[in-house]
Symmetry: D2
Subunit: 323 residues, 4 copies
């Protein structure tokens, strides 16, 4: 369960929530240009665009949840359980394991347009990372400051959607999520007037009544609608801090509070929330346990290095005592 978001002010921001009932050892990982990617198809990518994002690092391989490269291309993978379907290897295509999807494309592509070209020859396979890490059912949002697309591999084939609202959650498939927005055509952030009937006086007893009907639960379709409403109506300043601040507010609207949603094993929480200032390569994030916004700067390390730079997520509340 997750929500991905793009936001454009004078800057361009890309991020997501990760909602789970357990937490792995998430880290902000900077992948410098000369870190070798050993692909399962036998090839090795020796030099590539530098990448920053949150990953679970296993056997020195960054399993990215969401990441951005130095050219401004952004990808996040989100759960797509029961719909996602990956193939076996095919001879005529470039076989890319599902867990290589993000680093492969971010290594090679500088824009969504280039990624779209690359996808034409790609076959995403169901090769697991390892015996104890089975293949995750995912779909992806790929964005740059100009456009976003959603990529879904299903039993019926691949669907690549123009994602013009820059939002992705989970099930159902993206076209149905978009269609469902039509059902909220009556909602407005403005103070409404009486449309019920001119034969009765109704009372605007509260601000915000124009959005009555907006769903408040944490199911994937409801989060899609809520994120769309809050993003599409977002009002924010043009400063960098303004955008980061507002980004976390919009995603705050789709967070899981512990106890409100039972997962498979435990209650779902928003394990982390990220917001990358794409141009500057600054990766901001919060964790459920820590409201403060932490940040890692891609350009503060030597991007021509060969080893991963790793910054474990900070998972305890940092207070600022004023006295």
């Amino acid at each position: 369960m997750c929500t991905a978001l793009t936001l454009k002010t004078r800057n361009f921001y890309f991020g997501r929530t990760l909602d789970l009932d357990k937490s792995y050892s998430e880290e902000v990982v900077i992948n410098p240009r000369k870190f070798c990617f050993y692909l399962r198809n036998g090839y090795t990518i020796k030099t590539h665009y530098a990448i920053i994002g949150t990953a679970y690092v296993k056997d020195n391989f960054p399993l990215y949840y969401d990441a951005v490269n130095e050219m401004g291309l952004c990808i996040a993978g989100l759960n797509f359980v029961n719909y996602a379907y990956y193939s076996k290897e095919r001879e005529s295509m470039i076989n890319v394991a599902q867990f290589e999807f993000i680093p492969y494309l971010l290594s090679k592509c500088a824009s969504v347009r280039q990624a779209e070209e690359e996808l034409k020859n790609m076959n995403v396979t169901d090769t697991p990372f390892s015996a104890d890490l089975p293949v995750a059912d995912l779909h992806w949002i790929i964005s740059d400051k100009e456009k976003s697309i959603t990529v879904e591999y299903t039993r019926e084939g691949v669907n690549i959607y123009d994602n013009h609202i820059g939002i992705l959650t989970n099930n159902p498939p993206f076209d149905m999520q978009l269609f469902n927005l039509n059902n909220y055509i009556n909602l407005t952030p403005e103070q409404p007037h009486n449309r019920f009937s001119e034969n009765i006086n109704l009372d605007l007893y509260s601000l915000g009544m124009g959005a009555i009907g907006l769903p408040g639960d944490c199911s994937s379709q409801s989060r899609f609608v809520r994120a769309a409403f809050n993003k599409l109506n977002s009002v924010t300043g043009e400063g960098e801090t303004d955008g980061v601040n507002q980004f976390f507010h919009i995603l705050g609207g789709v967070q899981f509070s512990r106890g409100c949603c039972k997962g498979v094993n435990d209650y779902e929480i928003t394990v982390y929330t990220s917001c990358c200032d794409v141009e500057k390569g600054i990766y901001y994030y919060t964790t459920y346990e820590n409201h403060m916004i932490n940040a890692v700067k891609m350009h503060n390390v030597n991007l021509d290095d060969e080893e991963l730079f790793r910054y474990p997520h900070i998972k305890s509340e940092q207070f600022n005592f004023q006295n």
Copy 2:
């Protein structure tokens, strides 16, 4: 527009959001025991319980939005527009101006029970603080770790409700807010089973579908329901930090993202969110512009002093750069 909340773990927490389309100069204000309260009824309270809370200070008088005293009594005032009705002065009663309600009761009472006694002889008047500060339409939640009540002065008289869920928002009156919760009896944080019909297979395509129907807008009634669902199902650890963390998550579920709700002049935002650890007298808060949790400790000042201790709300994002 606001939401007040209590939360009991091993500790007891009290706080609220303040949602407005503009911001005054909010400060955390510690009111030590010998700060003189000059009441409009002519009396002066020279010594009293020490108080901490957020206030707008005008002419050296702390106009508290929410506050807690050293005995553990807590009060927050929330908008109650068009319903609130305050009286003129009455001879046989203790006349307390509406803006004195919080400091008066917190000065004198150590518990909700004592406050209830005090309220019997109180007449809350519509005396404005000053010509440029007209009387606000408010109702109040008064809490200690044992119980909460809601106090509403209306044209029909005063209503004092047992507030056993420890939540208050705005209109309509509290009894109607409570009644409205009945309409959400079908909602559950658990994964639901099919109750629609045994003659059809339905698909749990997402976690969280048990709470479909939870309202997601920011009107006062919808925030009441959402806060109730998130609080009553809240799961949290027993540590002090756990409780503070969870408190801000629950109130995060009723925050206003800028743009989602048009107010009278501008878009409503959650100007600040507070959470007081009542026993320890630590007042935590965040502001819309700052996700970090700031804190002021009542017992870090000399509570026998005579002057206010003032800590202006911090209104800019504080980042923690990890590199």
Copy 3:
């Protein structure tokens, strides 16, 4: 469970649904002017306005569910379980047993205004009709072509509400039902335009999307909203048949289909639906088992008679075979 309705075209119509999980022996009963009402307070009403309505006749006493008198005054009693509270007899008032409420007022009053006067001196008692017919928990709508009121006796006393929308269902009390309509201020019978955001194109994929959010279940509050929407937006011709036809369509919108709502013993059904042309004294009705509209004309009997005229409800489908 029931819904009462008034409708004004050039004519004035009054009627209701009766929703139960069982059926008594409902009959259309004309109560002529000289039928004696022996009241439990010892008085006997020997001559009175003639009355027509649906009743369960027990020991020659018409226990009316809804009725209209020859002067155009109309009353329907609807379930008000757990809220209704009737008193013991009081010396200084005219004691009227709960089951006498309708015939007493219709016997004496020619208008809502007269009924309001009468109510001032009335004490409605909890005297049961008989040992095997316990007191029903009811509230009432009293209407003439000029106005409607709702009368509710509760533990807190009697509340007489101006019922300017001419609708009554069941719980909660009438003022809360009216307040709840405010939550539907966004609904419209018109084709809506996009208010969600100008940053997205939404598709009006169906007619009727302006009313998305209208509740479709059969709980009393949802039926109130639905009846209000359908009545307040009703468009109908001015002919008598037009009005009757439309009246049954509006109440058709709040009918119970067998199986959709479990009652205490069995599934609730709309046992009957009535619509009285008040001026002409024609009482139209349908039953669950019979879609055809049956009718009884008050003025087709000798209204100066002394005995009840009884027309059992027709409870089997009457088909019109065209070949």
Copy 4:
């Protein structure tokens, strides 16, 4: 705007509503076995299964809205605006004009299985009936007592869905309608218990609260859900009249009351509602203007005749006066 429905008791019933803002001259039309169908592809069907249904007859051709043949095969065509897409003629296939879809299949097929076979070789063309009768955008439900399918021709090709719930309305495509039902998994016709939280007492203040969340508007998706809930939970006797009665009650739940939904030109109304006892060949219907159930019996005419038997819909209220 329409809703089609199947219902199986001991008998099998098939019918629909037709919701429009205007009315053509609808008639029940019996098409005997030797009435010649002159197809636009040049062929003539000289003998065929007898058919009964509602049609608009133009130039002696029955433009069926819904119909049933003597073998028990049933088809209804419902609006599918903006989605429906019909082809030009194709050489290798049997070209059937869109308006010939119902009579063609009912002429030749005795079961859904046979219709499915026939559809494999059919090309549904956009040939209009005449210059003043442009092609309607339709999709179809095809049923017998064993199964139902939905057939949709779209720009992407033909989709034939197993329609196991026996309901069809309008947009969006059928698979999305089915998916949307998942969102109502919490609804129940039973009296619900409190699932909101064990930390609060909630009051079942009304019967029917288990279905709160059921949509009550007349958009096509909401009618689909409502019809599904009322049908799948339907409780009815086994007699023929019982089934007919209940069928009209279920479709009564998705009727349009005049004024509640603005169409293109005028307010939408449920022009007619039909229910065919498929085995007996009895076609029952009501019209907006007439609540009585009219009926035409297929087997009361000479089915070996060559000319249409036509029974114009009765469009005025037929009352049964009991005195």
